[in-house]
Symmetry: C2
Amino acid sequence: MDYNVYNAIKILKNKSGSKNVVFISSAELAKEMKISQQTASRIIINLYRNKFIDRTMDNRKQKIILLEKSLDLLYYELNELHSILEMHQNFELGGNVKNGLGEGKYYISKEGYMKQFEEKLGIKPYPGTLNVKVNGEYENILRSIRSADGIHIEGFNDNERTFGGVKCFKAHIDGIKCFLIFPERSSYTDVIEIIADIYLRDELKLKDGSELKVNVDIDN
Amino acid sequence: MDYNVYNAIKILKNKSGSKNVVFISSAELAKEMKISQQTASRIIINLYRNKFIDRTMDNRKQKIILLEKSLDLLYYELNELHSILEMHQNFELGGNVKNGLGEGKYYISKEGYMKQFEEKLGIKPYPGTLNVKVNGEYENILRSIRSADGIHIEGFNDNERTFGGVKCFKAHIDGIKCFLIFPERSSYTDVIEIIADIYLRDELKLKDGSELKVNVDIDN
DNA sequence: ATTACTAGCACTCGAGTAG
DNA sequence: TCTACTCGAGTGCTAGTAA
Protein backbone atom coordinates (compact mmCIF):
# COMPACT_ATOMS: atom_id res chain seq x y z
CA MET A 1 0.00 0.00 0.00
CA ASP A 2 2.90 2.27 0.78
CA TYR A 3 3.97 2.12 -2.82
CA ASN A 4 0.50 3.01 -4.02
CA VAL A 5 0.54 6.03 -1.77
CA TYR A 6 3.82 7.22 -3.23
CA ASN A 7 2.76 6.56 -6.77
CA ALA A 8 -0.62 8.19 -6.43
CA ILE A 9 0.92 11.30 -4.90
CA LYS A 10 3.40 11.52 -7.74
CA ILE A 11 0.61 11.42 -10.28
CA LEU A 12 -1.58 13.85 -8.39
CA LYS A 13 1.29 16.29 -7.94
CA ASN A 14 2.14 16.05 -11.60
CA LYS A 15 -1.42 16.89 -12.57
CA SER A 16 -1.90 19.57 -9.96
CA GLY A 17 1.04 21.77 -10.88
CA SER A 18 2.16 24.49 -8.51
CA LYS A 19 -1.27 25.09 -7.02
CA ASN A 20 -1.48 21.58 -5.58
CA VAL A 21 -5.12 21.27 -6.54
CA VAL A 22 -6.46 18.77 -9.04
CA PHE A 23 -9.88 17.64 -10.25
CA ILE A 24 -9.69 13.93 -10.94
CA SER A 25 -12.02 10.96 -10.80
CA SER A 26 -11.03 7.68 -9.24
CA ALA A 27 -11.35 6.10 -12.70
CA GLU A 28 -8.88 8.57 -14.20
CA LEU A 29 -6.39 8.00 -11.42
CA ALA A 30 -6.91 4.26 -11.85
CA LYS A 31 -6.07 4.48 -15.51
CA GLU A 32 -2.86 6.40 -14.88
CA MET A 33 -1.82 3.97 -12.17
CA LYS A 34 -2.86 0.98 -14.25
CA ILE A 35 -5.06 -0.37 -11.48
CA SER A 36 -8.82 -0.77 -11.03
CA GLN A 37 -11.16 2.07 -10.25
CA GLN A 38 -12.00 0.39 -6.98
CA THR A 39 -8.43 0.27 -5.84
CA ALA A 40 -7.88 3.88 -6.88
CA SER A 41 -10.91 4.85 -4.81
CA ARG A 42 -9.52 2.97 -1.85
CA ILE A 43 -6.16 4.69 -2.25
CA ILE A 44 -7.80 8.12 -2.30
CA ILE A 45 -9.72 7.33 0.87
CA ASN A 46 -6.50 6.16 2.41
CA LEU A 47 -4.64 9.31 1.41
CA TYR A 48 -7.41 11.37 2.96
CA ARG A 49 -7.47 9.39 6.21
CA ASN A 50 -3.71 9.74 6.52
CA LYS A 51 -3.85 13.48 5.86
CA PHE A 52 -1.90 13.39 2.61
CA ILE A 53 -4.75 15.13 0.83
CA ASP A 54 -7.91 17.09 1.44
CA ARG A 55 -10.88 16.46 -0.79
CA THR A 56 -14.22 17.97 -1.54
CA MET A 57 -16.85 16.06 -3.45
CA ASP A 58 -17.78 18.97 -5.65
CA ASN A 59 -20.25 18.13 -8.41
CA ARG A 60 -19.54 14.71 -9.83
CA LYS A 61 -15.73 14.97 -9.97
CA GLN A 62 -13.86 15.35 -6.75
CA LYS A 63 -11.40 18.11 -6.01
CA ILE A 64 -8.18 16.93 -4.40
CA ILE A 65 -5.81 19.24 -2.55
CA LEU A 66 -2.34 17.98 -1.84
CA LEU A 67 -1.25 18.71 1.72
CA GLU A 68 2.24 19.38 3.04
CA LYS A 69 2.66 15.73 3.98
CA SER A 70 2.44 14.76 0.31
CA LEU A 71 5.01 17.30 -0.79
CA ASP A 72 7.30 16.26 2.04
CA LEU A 73 7.11 12.68 0.84
CA LEU A 74 8.15 13.59 -2.70
CA TYR A 75 10.93 15.93 -1.64
CA TYR A 76 12.15 13.37 0.82
CA GLU A 77 12.40 10.75 -1.89
CA LEU A 78 14.16 13.22 -4.16
CA ASN A 79 16.73 13.90 -1.49
CA GLU A 80 17.21 10.25 -0.77
CA LEU A 81 17.97 9.60 -4.42
CA HIS A 82 20.30 12.58 -4.53
CA SER A 83 22.10 11.22 -1.55
CA ILE A 84 22.26 7.62 -2.82
CA LEU A 85 23.43 8.68 -6.24
CA GLU A 86 25.94 11.05 -4.69
CA MET A 87 24.67 14.02 -6.61
CA HIS A 88 25.40 16.54 -3.91
CA GLN A 89 24.41 19.75 -5.49
CA ASN A 90 24.79 23.23 -4.25
CA PHE A 91 21.54 25.05 -4.14
CA GLU A 92 21.13 28.76 -4.40
CA LEU A 93 18.40 30.62 -2.57
CA GLY A 94 17.55 34.23 -3.25
CA GLY A 95 15.71 36.44 -0.79
CA ASN A 96 15.58 39.56 1.28
CA VAL A 97 16.65 40.30 4.81
CA LYS A 98 13.76 40.39 7.22
CA ASN A 99 13.70 42.15 10.55
CA GLY A 100 14.54 39.65 13.25
CA LEU A 101 12.44 40.12 16.35
CA GLY A 102 15.14 38.91 18.65
CA GLU A 103 13.58 35.50 19.27
CA GLY A 104 16.44 33.95 17.38
CA LYS A 105 18.86 35.36 19.89
CA TYR A 106 16.90 33.83 22.77
CA TYR A 107 17.03 30.33 21.29
CA ILE A 108 20.54 30.38 19.93
CA SER A 109 21.97 31.52 23.23
CA LYS A 110 20.58 28.55 25.14
CA GLU A 111 23.43 26.47 26.50
CA GLY A 112 21.70 23.28 25.29
CA TYR A 113 21.94 24.42 21.69
CA MET A 114 25.17 26.41 21.86
CA LYS A 115 27.18 23.45 23.11
CA GLN A 116 26.05 21.30 20.20
CA PHE A 117 26.65 24.05 17.65
CA GLU A 118 30.27 24.19 18.76
CA GLU A 119 30.62 20.41 18.67
CA LYS A 120 28.76 19.61 15.49
CA LEU A 121 29.12 22.74 13.38
CA GLY A 122 32.55 23.74 14.60
CA ILE A 123 31.57 27.34 15.20
CA LYS A 124 30.63 29.42 18.21
CA PRO A 125 27.66 31.27 16.76
CA TYR A 126 27.08 34.96 17.16
CA PRO A 127 24.00 35.06 19.41
CA GLY A 128 21.36 36.01 16.91
CA THR A 129 19.93 34.90 13.60
CA LEU A 130 19.79 36.54 10.21
CA ASN A 131 16.26 36.05 8.93
CA VAL A 132 15.77 35.88 5.19
CA LYS A 133 12.48 35.77 3.34
CA VAL A 134 13.06 33.50 0.38
CA ASN A 135 11.64 34.58 -2.98
CA GLY A 136 8.73 32.54 -4.29
CA GLU A 137 10.68 31.27 -7.28
CA TYR A 138 12.97 29.38 -4.91
CA GLU A 139 10.17 27.55 -3.13
CA ASN A 140 10.95 24.19 -4.72
CA ILE A 141 14.58 24.44 -3.81
CA LEU A 142 13.77 25.49 -0.27
CA ARG A 143 11.43 22.55 0.14
CA SER A 144 14.08 20.26 -1.16
CA ILE A 145 16.59 21.54 1.37
CA ARG A 146 14.09 21.41 4.23
CA SER A 147 13.30 17.78 3.58
CA ALA A 148 16.94 16.73 3.58
CA ASP A 149 18.49 15.41 6.78
CA GLY A 150 21.13 18.00 7.56
CA ILE A 151 23.17 18.11 10.75
CA HIS A 152 21.01 17.11 13.66
CA ILE A 153 20.99 19.15 16.85
CA GLU A 154 19.21 17.43 19.75
CA GLY A 155 16.36 19.00 21.62
CA PHE A 156 16.71 19.36 25.39
CA ASN A 157 14.96 20.33 28.58
CA ASP A 158 15.62 23.58 30.34
CA ASN A 159 14.28 23.74 33.88
CA GLU A 160 11.53 25.93 32.46
CA ARG A 161 10.48 24.25 29.23
CA THR A 162 11.29 21.95 26.33
CA PHE A 163 13.33 22.98 23.33
CA GLY A 164 12.85 20.95 20.15
CA GLY A 165 15.49 19.52 17.88
CA VAL A 166 16.78 21.55 14.95
CA LYS A 167 18.72 20.66 11.84
CA CYS A 168 21.44 22.68 10.16
CA PHE A 169 22.83 22.99 6.66
CA LYS A 170 26.22 24.33 5.76
CA ALA A 171 25.96 27.39 3.54
CA HIS A 172 27.79 30.49 2.49
CA ILE A 173 26.87 34.03 1.58
CA ASP A 174 29.39 35.94 -0.51
CA GLY A 175 32.04 33.48 0.58
CA ILE A 176 31.25 33.78 4.27
CA LYS A 177 30.54 30.46 5.95
CA CYS A 178 27.23 30.15 7.75
CA PHE A 179 24.51 27.65 8.57
CA LEU A 180 20.80 27.47 7.89
CA ILE A 181 18.85 26.24 10.86
CA PHE A 182 15.38 24.72 10.80
CA PRO A 183 13.24 23.52 13.68
CA GLU A 184 12.76 19.81 13.09
CA ARG A 185 9.06 19.92 13.77
CA SER A 186 7.46 22.77 11.91
CA SER A 187 5.49 23.29 8.78
CA TYR A 188 6.70 25.06 5.68
CA THR A 189 7.57 28.73 5.86
CA ASP A 190 9.46 30.89 3.38
CA VAL A 191 11.57 32.53 6.07
CA ILE A 192 14.91 30.94 6.83
CA GLU A 193 17.18 31.56 9.78
CA ILE A 194 20.91 31.79 9.37
CA ILE A 195 23.65 31.66 11.95
CA ALA A 196 27.38 32.27 11.69
CA ASP A 197 30.27 32.89 14.02
CA ILE A 198 30.22 36.55 13.13
CA TYR A 199 27.52 39.21 13.00
CA LEU A 200 26.40 38.80 9.41
CA ARG A 201 24.50 42.08 9.24
CA ASP A 202 27.67 44.06 9.87
CA GLU A 203 30.02 41.86 7.91
CA LEU A 204 27.84 41.86 4.79
CA LYS A 205 26.55 45.39 5.31
CA LEU A 206 22.93 44.24 5.30
CA LYS A 207 19.83 46.05 6.43
CA ASP A 208 16.17 45.12 6.40
CA GLY A 209 15.09 44.41 2.85
CA SER A 210 18.59 43.89 1.44
CA GLU A 211 18.71 41.34 -1.30
CA LEU A 212 21.07 38.42 -0.96
CA LYS A 213 21.88 34.97 -2.30
CA VAL A 214 22.58 32.05 -0.03
CA ASN A 215 24.46 28.99 -1.32
CA VAL A 216 23.55 25.85 0.51
CA ASP A 217 25.56 22.62 0.44
CA ILE A 218 23.68 19.40 0.94
CA ASP A 219 26.35 16.78 1.31
CA ASN A 220 24.52 14.25 3.47
CA MET B 1 6.86 -6.67 -6.01
CA ASP B 2 7.82 -3.75 -8.20
CA TYR B 3 8.16 -1.62 -5.14
CA ASN B 4 10.44 -4.14 -3.49
CA VAL B 5 12.65 -4.10 -6.52
CA TYR B 6 13.00 -0.33 -6.37
CA ASN B 7 13.56 -0.30 -2.65
CA ALA B 8 16.10 -3.10 -2.67
CA ILE B 9 18.07 -1.44 -5.44
CA LYS B 10 18.09 1.83 -3.51
CA ILE B 11 19.52 0.09 -0.47
CA LEU B 12 22.03 -1.91 -2.45
CA LYS B 13 23.22 1.15 -4.34
CA ASN B 14 23.55 3.07 -1.12
CA LYS B 15 25.74 0.37 0.38
CA SER B 16 27.74 -0.26 -2.76
CA GLY B 17 29.02 3.25 -3.33
CA SER B 18 30.56 4.18 -6.64
CA LYS B 19 31.93 0.70 -7.36
CA ASN B 20 28.45 -0.82 -7.53
CA VAL B 21 29.58 -3.89 -5.66
CA VAL B 22 28.32 -4.90 -2.24
CA PHE B 23 28.70 -7.85 0.10
CA ILE B 24 25.41 -8.34 1.87
CA SER B 25 23.46 -11.25 3.30
CA SER B 26 19.78 -11.69 2.67
CA ALA B 27 19.23 -11.22 6.42
CA GLU B 28 20.98 -7.84 6.37
CA LEU B 29 18.98 -6.68 3.40
CA ALA B 30 15.84 -7.95 5.12
CA LYS B 31 16.59 -5.89 8.20
CA GLU B 32 17.09 -2.72 6.17
CA MET B 33 13.91 -3.31 4.23
CA LYS B 34 12.01 -4.33 7.35
CA ILE B 35 10.90 -7.59 5.82
CA SER B 36 11.74 -11.24 6.48
CA GLN B 37 14.97 -12.88 5.45
CA GLN B 38 13.00 -15.20 3.20
CA THR B 39 11.39 -12.38 1.30
CA ALA B 40 14.71 -10.61 0.93
CA SER B 41 16.14 -13.79 -0.51
CA ARG B 42 13.28 -14.01 -2.97
CA ILE B 43 13.80 -10.40 -4.00
CA ILE B 44 17.48 -11.00 -4.63
CA ILE B 45 16.67 -14.02 -6.78
CA ASN B 46 14.17 -11.89 -8.60
CA LEU B 47 16.66 -9.07 -9.20
CA TYR B 48 19.10 -11.59 -10.57
CA ARG B 49 16.58 -13.22 -12.89
CA ASN B 50 15.56 -9.83 -14.22
CA LYS B 51 19.16 -8.79 -14.79
CA PHE B 52 19.18 -5.97 -12.28
CA ILE B 53 22.14 -7.54 -10.51
CA ASP B 54 24.84 -10.11 -10.90
CA ARG B 55 25.82 -12.23 -7.94
CA THR B 56 28.49 -14.64 -6.88
CA MET B 57 28.09 -16.84 -3.84
CA ASP B 58 31.55 -16.25 -2.48
CA ASN B 59 32.21 -17.78 0.89
CA ARG B 60 29.19 -17.46 3.13
CA LYS B 61 28.16 -13.90 2.17
CA GLN B 62 27.15 -13.22 -1.38
CA LYS B 63 28.67 -10.55 -3.56
CA ILE B 64 26.15 -8.46 -5.46
CA ILE B 65 27.05 -6.36 -8.47
CA LEU B 66 24.57 -3.74 -9.58
CA LEU B 67 24.04 -3.73 -13.33
CA GLU B 68 23.18 -0.83 -15.61
CA LYS B 69 19.50 -1.64 -15.41
CA SER B 70 19.52 -0.89 -11.69
CA LEU B 71 21.25 2.44 -12.12
CA ASP B 72 18.89 3.35 -14.93
CA LEU B 73 15.94 2.70 -12.64
CA LEU B 74 17.27 5.02 -9.94
CA TYR B 75 18.26 7.79 -12.32
CA TYR B 76 14.91 7.50 -14.06
CA GLU B 77 13.07 7.94 -10.79
CA LEU B 78 15.28 10.89 -9.91
CA ASN B 79 14.44 12.56 -13.19
CA GLU B 80 10.78 11.89 -12.79
CA LEU B 81 10.79 13.59 -9.41
CA HIS B 82 12.79 16.49 -10.82
CA SER B 83 10.23 16.85 -13.53
CA ILE B 84 7.20 16.53 -11.24
CA LEU B 85 8.60 18.96 -8.71
CA GLU B 86 9.59 21.35 -11.48
CA MET B 87 13.18 21.52 -10.35
CA HIS B 88 14.71 21.99 -13.76
CA GLN B 89 18.33 22.26 -13.07
CA ASN B 90 21.21 23.09 -15.32
CA PHE B 91 23.92 20.51 -15.22
CA GLU B 92 27.53 21.13 -15.99
CA LEU B 93 29.71 18.49 -17.61
CA GLY B 94 33.46 18.77 -17.88
CA GLY B 95 35.56 16.84 -20.36
CA ASN B 96 38.04 16.83 -23.19
CA VAL B 97 37.62 16.92 -26.91
CA LYS B 98 38.06 13.52 -28.48
CA ASN B 99 38.99 12.86 -32.08
CA GLY B 100 35.85 12.20 -34.03
CA LEU B 101 36.26 9.43 -36.54
CA GLY B 102 33.81 10.92 -38.95
CA GLU B 103 31.01 8.48 -38.17
CA GLY B 104 29.09 11.32 -36.61
CA LYS B 105 29.10 13.13 -39.93
CA TYR B 106 27.65 10.08 -41.68
CA TYR B 107 24.73 9.82 -39.29
CA ILE B 108 23.97 13.49 -38.85
CA SER B 109 23.86 14.09 -42.57
CA LYS B 110 21.12 11.52 -43.15
CA GLU B 111 18.02 13.23 -44.46
CA GLY B 112 15.86 11.24 -42.00
CA TYR B 113 17.63 12.84 -39.06
CA MET B 114 18.42 16.23 -40.56
CA LYS B 115 14.80 17.02 -41.30
CA GLN B 116 13.79 16.34 -37.72
CA PHE B 117 16.69 18.34 -36.30
CA GLU B 118 15.44 21.36 -38.19
CA GLU B 119 11.86 20.81 -37.07
CA LYS B 120 12.39 19.87 -33.46
CA LEU B 121 15.62 21.62 -32.52
CA GLY B 122 15.23 24.64 -34.74
CA ILE B 123 18.74 24.39 -36.12
CA LYS B 124 20.29 23.10 -39.32
CA PRO B 125 23.25 21.26 -37.85
CA TYR B 126 26.76 21.47 -39.17
CA PRO B 127 27.32 17.99 -40.58
CA GLY B 128 29.55 16.52 -37.91
CA THR B 129 29.68 15.97 -34.19
CA LEU B 130 31.99 17.26 -31.53
CA ASN B 131 32.92 14.27 -29.38
CA VAL B 132 33.72 14.93 -25.75
CA LYS B 133 35.05 12.44 -23.25
CA VAL B 134 33.40 13.35 -19.97
CA ASN B 135 35.59 13.33 -16.85
CA GLY B 136 34.89 10.55 -14.38
CA GLU B 137 33.78 12.97 -11.68
CA TYR B 138 30.78 13.93 -13.84
CA GLU B 139 29.58 10.35 -14.30
CA ASN B 140 26.59 10.76 -11.99
CA ILE B 141 25.46 13.89 -13.76
CA LEU B 142 25.90 12.31 -17.17
CA ARG B 143 23.84 9.31 -16.11
CA SER B 144 21.16 11.61 -14.83
CA ILE B 145 21.00 13.45 -18.13
CA ARG B 146 21.02 10.23 -20.16
CA SER B 147 18.06 8.84 -18.27
CA ALA B 148 15.96 11.95 -18.84
CA ASP B 149 13.55 12.08 -21.74
CA GLY B 150 14.97 14.88 -23.86
CA ILE B 151 13.76 15.83 -27.32
CA HIS B 152 12.88 12.71 -29.22
CA ILE B 153 14.07 12.19 -32.80
CA GLU B 154 12.41 9.25 -34.54
CA GLY B 155 14.35 6.41 -36.08
CA PHE B 156 13.76 5.69 -39.78
CA ASN B 157 14.49 3.33 -42.62
CA ASP B 158 16.93 4.16 -45.34
CA ASN B 159 16.74 1.87 -48.36
CA GLU B 160 19.92 0.28 -47.04
CA ARG B 161 19.39 -0.08 -43.31
CA THR B 162 17.63 1.01 -40.15
CA PHE B 163 18.60 4.07 -38.15
CA GLY B 164 17.57 4.11 -34.51
CA GLY B 165 15.90 6.91 -32.57
CA VAL B 166 18.01 9.47 -30.76
CA LYS B 167 17.28 12.00 -28.06
CA CYS B 168 18.64 15.50 -27.74
CA PHE B 169 19.27 17.91 -24.90
CA LYS B 170 19.66 21.64 -25.26
CA ALA B 171 23.05 22.79 -24.04
CA HIS B 172 25.58 25.56 -24.43
CA ILE B 173 29.35 25.83 -24.42
CA ASP B 174 30.80 29.24 -23.62
CA GLY B 175 27.46 30.74 -24.51
CA ILE B 176 27.15 28.97 -27.86
CA LYS B 177 23.96 27.01 -28.24
CA CYS B 178 24.30 23.35 -29.06
CA PHE B 179 22.67 19.98 -28.44
CA LEU B 180 23.79 16.73 -26.89
CA ILE B 181 22.61 13.74 -28.84
CA PHE B 182 22.30 10.20 -27.52
CA PRO B 183 21.21 7.07 -29.34
CA GLU B 184 18.06 5.92 -27.59
CA ARG B 185 19.16 2.31 -27.39
CA SER B 186 22.70 2.10 -26.15
CA SER B 187 24.47 1.38 -22.95
CA TYR B 188 26.41 3.85 -20.89
CA THR B 189 29.50 5.47 -22.34
CA ASP B 190 31.47 8.48 -21.13
CA VAL B 191 31.74 9.99 -24.60
CA ILE B 192 29.05 12.46 -25.60
CA GLU B 193 28.29 13.79 -29.06
CA ILE B 194 27.42 17.41 -29.58
CA ILE B 195 25.90 19.13 -32.57
CA ALA B 196 25.36 22.79 -33.37
CA ASP B 197 24.53 24.89 -36.39
CA ILE B 198 28.13 25.98 -36.63
CA TYR B 199 31.46 24.16 -36.68
CA LEU B 200 32.23 24.14 -32.97
CA ARG B 201 35.87 23.22 -33.34
CA ASP B 202 36.59 26.42 -35.25
CA GLU B 203 34.25 28.65 -33.32
CA LEU B 204 35.59 27.59 -29.93
CA LYS B 205 39.16 27.08 -31.16
CA LEU B 206 39.21 23.49 -29.97
CA LYS B 207 41.60 20.72 -30.86
CA ASP B 208 41.87 17.13 -29.70
CA GLY B 209 42.34 17.05 -25.95
CA SER B 210 41.08 20.60 -25.31
CA GLU B 211 39.26 20.94 -22.03
CA LEU B 212 35.75 22.32 -22.02
CA LYS B 213 32.61 22.65 -19.97
CA VAL B 214 29.18 21.91 -21.34
CA ASN B 215 26.06 23.28 -19.67
CA VAL B 216 23.01 21.15 -20.21
CA ASP B 217 19.40 22.24 -19.64
CA ILE B 218 16.90 19.57 -18.71
CA ASP B 219 13.55 21.26 -18.85
CA ASN B 220 11.31 18.27 -19.58
C1' DA C 1 26.74 -18.95 9.46
C1' DT C 2 24.61 -18.73 5.08
C1' DT C 3 20.59 -19.29 0.96
C1' DA C 4 16.21 -20.61 -0.35
C1' DC C 5 12.38 -24.23 -0.59
C1' DT C 6 7.56 -25.38 1.03
C1' DA C 7 3.37 -24.61 3.39
C1' DG C 8 -0.02 -21.91 5.19
C1' DC C 9 -1.96 -17.73 6.08
C1' DA C 10 -2.97 -12.76 5.58
C1' DC C 11 -3.65 -9.15 2.81
C1' DT C 12 -4.77 -6.68 -1.18
C1' DC C 13 -6.88 -6.61 -5.60
C1' DG C 14 -10.70 -6.32 -8.84
C1' DA C 15 -15.59 -7.74 -10.08
C1' DG C 16 -20.09 -6.87 -8.99
C1' DT C 17 -23.03 -3.67 -7.49
C1' DA C 18 -25.47 -0.12 -4.40
C1' DG C 19 -26.30 4.64 -3.53
C1' DT D 1 -22.04 9.08 -14.76
C1' DC D 2 -19.72 9.32 -10.17
C1' DT D 3 -17.79 6.97 -5.24
C1' DA D 4 -17.09 3.12 -2.56
C1' DC D 5 -18.94 -1.16 -0.23
C1' DT D 6 -18.69 -6.47 0.01
C1' DC D 7 -16.67 -10.63 -1.18
C1' DG D 8 -14.11 -14.25 -3.49
C1' DA D 9 -9.70 -15.13 -5.61
C1' DG D 10 -5.09 -14.82 -6.00
C1' DT D 11 -0.70 -12.88 -4.75
C1' DG D 12 2.94 -12.42 -1.69
C1' DC D 13 4.20 -12.58 2.92
C1' DT D 14 6.41 -15.07 7.05
C1' DA D 15 7.61 -19.22 9.66
C1' DG D 16 9.69 -23.51 9.61
C1' DT D 17 13.31 -25.89 7.95
C1' DA D 18 16.65 -28.22 4.66
C1' DA D 19 21.08 -27.96 2.60
